[in-house]
Amino acid sequence: MIRTLGQVLAWFALIFSVVFLLAPLVVTIGVSLSPSPVFQMPDGTISWRWYERLVRLDGLMESVLLSLQVALFATIVSLVIGTMAAIAVVRGTFPGREAIATFLVSPLMLPGLVIGIAMLQYFRAFGLREALPSLLIAHIIVVLPFVMRTLTAGLSLFDFALLDAARTLGLSYPSAVLRVMVPVLAPSFITGGLFGFLASLDNYPISIFLTDVYHRTLPIQLLQYLGESPDPTVAAVSTLIIALTAVLLVIGDRMVGLNRMAGV
């Protein structure tokens, strides 16, 4: 009886969570397809006018491309240095490993605005005033914690004897890593990379201090646009990003299975 009650409660919580989490996505997709210029769900007719407007809108596509570029760069660098650090933390025997792991994950848990201001003043003090390099460097700090978290978790379950086995079978160390370790850790790479990539794409608190008029990342541009002339073009660009992520999730599911890649 108690058990059934508990199970009903758990399923109710899950269904509620799914509906609750997807609600703003449904609204955004709906608004982007509505012919109405105010934020409204379509009633009967759908229209593509906001998608057509998207390409003509000043600065919007530029900011999408800039954000994708920054997020991609930060994700690649983080995957490389994050994986290296995770291997050191999981496999090493030196003192302070736990402190290093906590340190490299901590930017995720410390206030973004404070990090942003601190970086702004620091970069200025060293004469770095260009927006693009500042953003590229800063966003590595945004992505790195996600990579670090998922990879330390993934690596602590990885059996390193597999590497020795592969070397006994004649593979060199680098190709053993590439052909044995990388496939086994694929779920961690994909999860950490995806979470970090999306966090970079949506970062506002750090970016706001580092952008300039020519380099506005997408969230900065979106907020400014919504403040000045709100129309569903914003919903259209968001829908495209949702669609892109959905494609990435399907690819991830095909490659490693979504249920294996869920750990944060």
Binding site: L14, L21, V31, F39, A85, L144, V234, N259, G263
Partner: protein, 275 residues
Amino acid sequence: MTRQLGIGWLAVPACLFALVIFALPLGLLLVESLRDASGWTLEGYRSFLASDYSWQVTGRTLRLALLTTAICLAIGYPAAFALAWSRGAWQALFIAALLLPLSLSVIVKAFGWTVLLRTNGVVNKLLMGSGLTDGPIRFIFTETGLLIGITNIFLPFMVLPIFSVIKQIDPRLTDAASTLGANPFYGFTRVIVPLTMPGVVAGVTLVFSMSIAAYVIPTLLMGDRYQTLSTTIATSFLYLQDPQRGSVAGVILLVLSLLVVGASVVLGRKMRAAP
């Protein structure tokens, strides 16, 4: 020996980078909060701590983070169990539903909620249609509306860490507990709940530390009159040109977050020592 040292070296690039690009700037911010034009001073902290308004803002920030964490835990904990029980394609779909919302910008989510929560919006129509309320409820620019919006953003960060712990728990443990005569409630609270604690600590730490620093969502759903530590920092630097006040508020927020991170490290260590 050389091999262990070799492995340790792998952490150097990331550590060096984070030290130079992340830790040093924060250290300098701390220094700046202790200085003004004339030299070293605690004046920034004194005036911040002496004002009732600052305490109000700090209290509100903590309250918002605590409420958000509590709601996320209350919904996310049971949901994580159901997620772990689900099988195959259903589980993949549920996980996709938790991950996909991360792709929608917080800014656009806030606008989505204003559409959903307005007086003639879907939520009010559902509430009135089901007879739960007679007239529309005002959500926009209320704390309830803010809590709905902020919970919506951080809920996946509660469910996923708890889920990844639950799916590693041996299901035979529950059977063992009941074979040994434990009733389901006792078996659950004494056997399963303690095993899920690492996930709970991870989820609570993430959600609390992210919601205590939330900036975009309170600004968009509540406006300027709802000041938190984050909005104080932003207005001090971006509009008021008062870097000292901003730095002080920043350091206070930073210390609160560091306390949370520190507590989670201590708790995590305790759990590993006494499983």
